[in-house]
């Protein structure tokens, strides 16, 4: 059991009680403000006894979940008579945040430009998701730059080199692959010149 007293600069204090259950820190009570009936500014044993009646009911049972390679045992709390839910709080659990972000990033809808999350537990997840999205875009841009940086001497090889770089950048200004079939003769400009030169490829 962890007990802490949180005070504002004006001296308004709240007495907070935390409990570590299977590695998950669970906030389990708020004391009254100092000056209110039953209020206190220090963690007295009497205050702790009074606070225990306000804690959510927990009988030690857990619900096991797995995210990728990460397994967590979520404590089951009774939140209403006869109703228990598994408490999941990833705030502070960086392993879960990073794993969830990696898994969700692969399922991010295409064309998503903005991520909107509620305050505040999902903020680290959004941060990790955006980081992964930006890293992927950077990787594509750097790959394209690297391809353009070392052009081969052969003109045809240069053409394929540029097309690969364009594909990495997601640029579709020049027909490629199946799109190429829609061009006159089924060839892009480079390949039509190639054809007129009598080359079969």
């Amino acid at each position: 059991m962890l007990t802490t007293l949180a005070c504002t600069p004006k001296g308004k204090c709240r007495f907070l009680e935390f409990e570590s259950i299977h590695g998950t820190v669970v906030y389990s009570g708020v004391a009254r403000r100092r000056g209110e009936p039953g209020g206190a500014s220090v963690a007295s044993p009497n205050r702790l006894r009074k606070m225990k009646g306000r804690r959510m009911s927990y009988d030690g049972r857990v619900f096991t979940v797995q995210l990728g390679g990460v397994i967590r045992k979520l404590p089951l709390f009774e939140v209403a008579p006869g109703v228990k839910i598994a408490i999941f709080n990833m705030l502070g659990d960086t392993e879960v945040v990073e794993t969830a972000a990696a898994l969700l990033a692969t399922r991010l809808p295409t064309g998503a430009e903005v991520l909107v999350v509620p305050e505040v537990k999902a903020v680290p997840l959004a941060h990790a998701l955006v980081g992964r999205q930006q890293a992927a875009l950077r990787g594509r841009a750097q790959g394209a730059q690297a391809l353009h940086g070392e052009l081969p001497r052969n003109r045809s090889a240069q053409h394929h080199h540029r097309r690969a770089a364009d594909a990495l950048r997601g640029w579709q200004g020049r027909p490629s692959g199946a799109r190429q079939a829609g061009r006159p003769g089924g060839r892009c400009d480079q390949h039509r010149q190639h054809d007129s030169a009598g080359c079969a490829n």
Binding site: F63, L74, V83, K84, I85, A86, A100, P109, E113, V116
Partner: protein, 37 residues
């Protein structure tokens, strides 16, 4: 979202909770049941 004239591309969650059929349109990594006696 309407005020920002935004188009919602999708909704994602780490876990959904309650009845799975209530979350058909949500991309989630798992589902947490509600336990009732």
């Amino acid at each position: 979202m309407a005020l920002a004239t935004a188009t919602v591309a999708g909704e994602m969650a780490v876990f959904t909770e309650g009845k799975p059929e209530d979350w058909d349109g949500v991309i989630a990594l798992g589902h947490l049941p509600v336990f009732t006696d």
